[in-house]
């Protein structure tokens, strides 16, 4: 009860946890997360193993059916989901960190530094991300989860930088920042303790979008065949489905189920993000 009272005192958190969209989103996301954690433990097969006959539609033995060679799609999906979530998390984190730092500096410093950083941001923004990723990944001799995540993270940050910059610009003239400045606090302290701390909710939302963006870019790369060199991924399952003409053969489960789970996860993240937006933004609150 006292915990609930604490939540009630903090208006932002109160509105966030009582928002229907946030609730739906969090529940969906946790379900998918649970699937990626528990799925690999409860499955009877390994993702490379020929688990049974090919062409099997979803059944009690093969929950998501089997591939043409008889691999279990459920097993492949849950393992792929794990790798996708991991890449999204690491890449999203990297992108958020880069974006926040560039946005803070550009917004706070202004002048030529701002111009330069925004130019860089706009240049990266203009690139079709996937094309850049293809060209770099194609030349990478070995691709692991971590270096994929770093690679994607390095290309999807501009959106954050722009958003954080405009927030910083509106915060930097507030009184508490002035006060901090005349107390001759170090600029790093001003940026992180005064400005960034005051848009924490905003940065969290940005992280969700970056998580999402990283996942989409990564899955796209995997689909082309430029995913991690070893292991299984959601994009790879779908690529194999397309390459083996699964759809023509009526094996819809092979190509569609893994993507459906991915899409549900993305919807859940969108819901959380929009719900938080409504919660933190009184103007959008009641409709």
């Amino acid at each position: 009860m006292s915990f609930w009272n604490k939540i009630k005192k903090n208006e932002n958190i109160y509105y966030a946890v009582t928002n229907t969209k946030v609730q739906i989103g969090v529940v969906l996301f946790l379900l998918i997360l649970l699937l990626s954690i528990i799925g690999p433990m409860i499955t009877r097969y390994s993702y490379t193993e020929f688990a049974g006959p090919g062409y099997e539609p979803p059944s009690s033995d093969y929950w998501f059916g089997t591939t043409i060679q008889g691999r279990d799609v459920f097993t492949q999906t849950v393992f792929g989901l794990r790798s996708t979530i991991l890449v999204g998390f690491i890449g999203g984190l990297i992108a958020s960190i880069i974006g926040v730092i560039i946005g803070l500096i550009a917004g706070y410093k202004g002048g030529w530094l701002d111009e330069l950083l925004m130019m860089l941001t706009n240049v990266v923004l203009t690139f079709p991300t996937l094309a850049v990723l293809i060209i770099v990944a194609a030349y990478l001799p070995y691709r692991g989860i971590v270096n994929m995540a770093v690679l994607v993270g390095l290309t999807v940050w501009p959106w954050t930088a722009r958003a954080v910059r405009s927030q910083t610009m509106s915060l930097k003239n507030s009184r508490f920042v002035d006060l901090s400045r005349i107390s001759s606090n170090h600029i790093i302290r001003i940026l992180f303790e005064d400005i960034a701390a005051n848009m924490f909710s905003y940065i969290f939302m940005v992280f969700i979008l970056q998580f999402l963006g990283t996942i989409l870019a990564t899955v796209g790369l995997e689909f082309i065949g430029l995913g991690p060199t070893r292991g299984i991924s959601l994009g790879l399952i779908m690529q194999q489905a397309v390459n083996w003409n699964a759809l023509e053969l009526g094996m819809w489960w092979w190509g569609i189920i893994p993507g459906l789970i991915l899409t549900i996860m993305i919807v859940s993240l969108y819901f959380i993000n929009t719900g938080l937006d409504e919660a933190f933004n009184p103007k959008l609150r009641e409709f």
Partner: protein
């Protein structure tokens, strides 16, 4: 207006410069010496390796210093020399790009403009209509969340095989000869429809959500309340809210272009639709690095051109920019 334009132009030039530099640097500085491993792939060919090696050394200018290599790279670029495709030997890469780019334009341009227009209208309707809102919004969220290629797979399955109403691969039937004949045009449009439809639907969701949120925001703005208090008709209030909401959507379009073009690459791959994206993926799969780099550059150039068009649209509809233009002129 001049200043606005000059700033944009600098960004475009910088982007192009960075793209060319990436193109030049990636094969030369990536770990594991990609060029050597490319050459090594042709080891099996008798005498072929020698020819390939010479080709590579000549094309990459590997016997010269890095700075000269860099300038040479630019020079051959301006001559339109992007190397020769290894997959479709010996067709020049430039040639392949020229014949592919049209397929990108006919898919991306109509899909983007139509989904933007329809999405904005649908979003505005949903923003003003509470009943419709709770009904259609989940659908729009679903569309906006679908990865392009997954949605393409669903479309192929449903319309291509379940109902079998549309062909699902290539730009036209294998037995057709391109020309301005009625059967060919019908065949062509039938092949064009599904990739277009995929791009259109996935894009639609995002624009609708964006516009709907803008409208809810504008609806509560003081000017809307004031107009209502003055007794203005609902229709007029809506029109004003829409006009104010449209501007950020144009900015959004500029921001989204990169994502859309990335999406087009994957959609083309699912439909084997022979645009630049499809060629690029083919180039990856056959390790045809000249074609890969050429497609990359062409896609960037396309993104820049699309950005330029959006900029012009923005200048036309933004009253403040238009006003400053009239003052200057």
């Amino acid at each position: 207006m001049g200043k606005y334009f000059a700033k944009k132009l600098v960004i475009y030039l910088a982007t192009f410069f960075v793209a060319v530099t990436i193109n030049w640097a990636v094969p030369r500085f990536m770990p594991g010496d990609p060029i050597l491993s490319m050459i090594a792939q042709f080891q099996g060919l008798e005498g072929g390796q020698q020819i390939i090696q010479e080709r590579f050394i000549e094309n990459f200018g590997l016997d010269q210093s890095l700075i000269i290599q860099y300038f040479e790279f630019w020079r051959s670029l301006f001559r339109g020399d992007l190397g020769i495709s290894l997959m479709i030997y010996p067709r020049p890469v430039f040639d392949i790009i020229k014949s592919s780019i049209i397929y990108d334009i006919i898919i991306v341009f109509p899909a983007v403009s139509l989904s933007w227009i329809v999405g904005n209208k649908a979003g505005a309707y949903s923003g003003f209509n509470k009943k419709a809102d709770s009904f259609v919004m989940p659908f729009f969220y679903f569309l906006a969340s679908s990865p392009y290629f997954w949605f393409a797979i669903v479309v192929v399955y449903v319309f291509g095989f379940r109902f079998g109403v549309f062909p699902t691969s290539h730009a036209y039937g294998t037995g057709m000869t391109p020309g301005f004949t009625l059967p060919f045009i019908i065949n062509f449009i039938r092949h064009w429809f599904l990739p277009f439809f995929t791009m259109f639907l996935v894009g639609l969701g995002g624009w609708a959500i964006g516009m709907r949120n803008m409208i809810i925001y504008e609806k509560k703005a003081n000017y809307s309340e004031y107009m209502k208090a003055l007794g203005a008709k609902d229709k007029l209030v809506r029109r004003y809210a829409f006009r104010n909401g449209v501007l950020p959507q144009v900015t959004g379009l500029a921001i989204q272009l990169g994502t859309i073009i990335s999406g087009a690459i994957l959609v083309q791959m699912v439909f084997s639709y022979p645009g630049l994206g499809y060629r690029m993926v083919q180039a990856v799969q056959t390790q045809d690095f000249f074609l890969l780099q050429g497609c990359f550059l062409a896609l960037i150039t396309m993104a820049l051109a699309a950005n330029f068009i959006v900029d012009i649209v923005y200048m036309i509809i933004d009253p403040s920019i238009r006003a400053s233009y009239e003052e200057e002129g």
